[in-house]
């Protein structure tokens, strides 16, 4: 394999007494869909936050696309092609869906020190934004104010915003959180469509989805990676069953 898209080395982060990331080392290959699973409070969101720059690790390094990004601010990582979606929906509630996504496009189209041109007439922002909305099946909802969209639509919008930045890698924090079975199915289809063309680090509790989508899976418990491998290996691992999947889990 060529140089991995992302290399995480000996990453550590604690909050007071809680060690949320414990000496974590992980590679994500280019084009790979790497899933991170683990029980509540295992440190999955904390990991994503460190990768995206929202949190600074206590120690360790993060390399992305051949560069050390450990101390880079979030916006600079986004500029280098690292995009994230949030477990708890994080959008611009007063803007329309299209404005939300167009703003993400704008963020990657040079600086925003433009004071006079009507942003809603800029085809170079609106067209890619519409394409990203179409990618997640929201094209018909483009003009709806985000606040009035359903939870499932918010999750789709999250993905569209991440895609609109034209990323080299996606960090997705539980894109199916709180979704019904039908909506989840739609999201799995969206992720399937992205798989192969995007490098993805996926955090997800929905085991069906994870085992269907992932190329590799890492299991996180109390901030430690207790297992990492192909889906079959993870499924077969007794330790994983014991620590996380539980006896009656049928995977």
């Amino acid at each position: 394999m060529a140089e991995p898209m992302m290399e995480i080395r000996a990453l550590r982060k604690s909050f007071g007494g809680v060690v949320a990331t414990d000496d974590l080392t992980l590679d994500v290959g280019a084009g790979e869909l790497h899933a991170v699973i683990g029980p509540n409070g295992a440190g999955k969101t904390t990991l994503i936050s460190q990768l995206s720059g929202a949190l600074m690790p206590d120690s360790g390094t993060i390399r992305f696309d051949g560069r050390d990004i450990t101390r880079m601010p979030p916006y600079a990582r986004s500029r280098r092609g690292l995009a994230r979606s949030f477990q708890i929906t994080s959008i611009f509630p007063e803007f329309t869906a299209l404005d939300n996504v167009a703003l993400a496009v704008q963020a990657h189209d040079g600086h925003s020190f433009s004071f006079f041109r009507d942003v809603r007439r800029e085809a170079r922002l609106r067209d890619p934004a519409r394409a990203a909305l179409a990618r997640v099946g929201l094209e018909a909802r483009a003009e709806v104010t985000a606040r009035y969209m359903s939870h499932g639509e918010h999750r789709q919008l999250e993905i569209a915003m991440a895609l609109a930045t034209n990323p080299k890698m996606l960090l997705l924090d539980e894109p199916m959180a709180g979704m019904g079975p039908e909506e989840s199915g739609l999201m799995v289809d969206i992720l399937k469509g992205l798989k192969g063309e995007q490098t993805i680090l996926l955090i997800e509790h929905d085991m069906d989805a994870v085992f269907r989508l992932a190329d590799r899976i890492t299991v996180l418990v109390y901030g430690r990676a207790i297992a990492s491998g192909a889906p079959e290996e993870i499924r077969a691992s007794a330790e994983v069953r014991h620590a996380y999947l539980g006896e009656d889990e049928t995977v």
Binding site: Y75, S90, F92, L103, H108, S112
Partner: protein, 316 residues
């Protein structure tokens, strides 16, 4: 989006009234109305500028009157030293307001929420006391501006009527500028940062520099209001920068409607009108004004314009 919704009608009506006020003042032979209208428009420019950062950028500055004070003092001190050319005074007033806003912005924009309010307030009070300590410029008694800004005959600031329309045109320009700004790429970043700053950084925008720029633009516009105010009252004093004046600006913005670009103009007009009417009724007019404000905040969240647009929606 109807162009002639209730909201736009109120804005248009306000402008129409302001345009006709001089004629009415002449007709009823009450020059005071001319004075009142001009004061409304000058403070409207100040409130408009505050709304850019407060309403759209979510930066609740409790020291915005400082820039009005600085603009006014620049004109006053220039005149004191016999530099009366408006071509020098006014650009200088804008430049100094911008520079101070830049410094204060760099300091205060590192904080959020209540801390931001407190720091802007503290910086404002510092500036206020600096004004008081300027003994050679009258200290807390202030400074009379004996000569109006001189524009070499191009515009006559000394003539009440022509100065009135100078202010009128400047207000219209500031409104137009704000409108363009809010709908531009810059405006989207500003509003996005208010709604969700973390997300803004996550999609790749270094928010600080945009907020700082907005802060400087707002301070500069308020500096213009200050330069106008010095010519309006022919007098400057530290009181212009007092925190209660900053509070007045906040009230004007809330009264007119934070979410709308033209709201502060309606808010400033309503504020001065109410002050005029109520202080005619009783010396303790604040006793009536206070509860009225509470009602507005409770029942008309978006201020006067927000209240009107509840029925028919609309933008701007």
């Amino acid at each position: 989006m109807a162009l002639l919704n209730a909201r736009n009608l109120v804005v248009l009506a306000t402008f129409a009234l302001l345009a006709l006020a001089p004629a009415y003042a002449a007709w009823v032979e009450t020059p005071f109305y001319l004075d009142l209208g001009r004061r409304m428009m000058i403070l409207a420019i100040g409130a408009l500028s505050l709304n850019l950062i407060m309403g759209f950028g979510g930066m609740i500055s409790f020291g915005h009157a400082v820039y009005i004070g600085i603009g006014a003092y620049t004109v006053g001190i220039c005149a004191f030293h016999e530099v009366t050319s408006g071509f020098v005074q006014w650009p200088l007033a804008l430049a100094i307001s911008a520079a101070v806003a830049l410094v204060f912005g760099v300091i205060s924009l590192r904080t959020r929420g209540v801390y931001f309010i407190m720091i802007t307030l503290a910086l404002a009070q510092m500036t206020f006391y600096l004004g008081i300590s300027l003994d050679q410029y009258g200290g807390d008694d202030g400074l009379t501006v004996y000569a109006p800004s001189d524009f070499a005959g191009l515009i006559d600031v000394d003539d009440d009527l022509s100065f009135y329309y100078v202010v009128f045109v400047l207000l219209a320009l500031c409104l137009w500028f704000s409108q363009r700004l809010i709908r531009s790429r810059f405006g989207m970043v500003l509003q996005g940062a208010r709604q969700n700053e973390g997300r803004m950084e996550a999609i790749g925008v270094p928010v600080f520099r945009y907020k700082l720029t907005a802060f400087v633009i707002a301070g500069t516009m308020a500096g213009l209001a200050g330069a106008l105010l010095a010519n309006h009252t022919d007098f400057v004093n530290p009181e212009m920068a007092h925190w209660t004046r900053s509070g007045d600006l906040i009230i004007m913005v809330l009264l007119g409607g934070m979410g709308s670009i033209a709201g502060p103009i309606v808010g400033a007009a309503a504020f001065l009108l109410l002050e005029e009417l109520l202080s005619g009724v009783t010396e303790y007019w604040q006793v009536i004004f206070g509860p009225f404000l509470i009602l507005v905040v409770l029942y008309a969240r978006g201020g006067i314009l927000g209240f009107l647009s509840r029925k028919d929606g609309g933008d701007g």
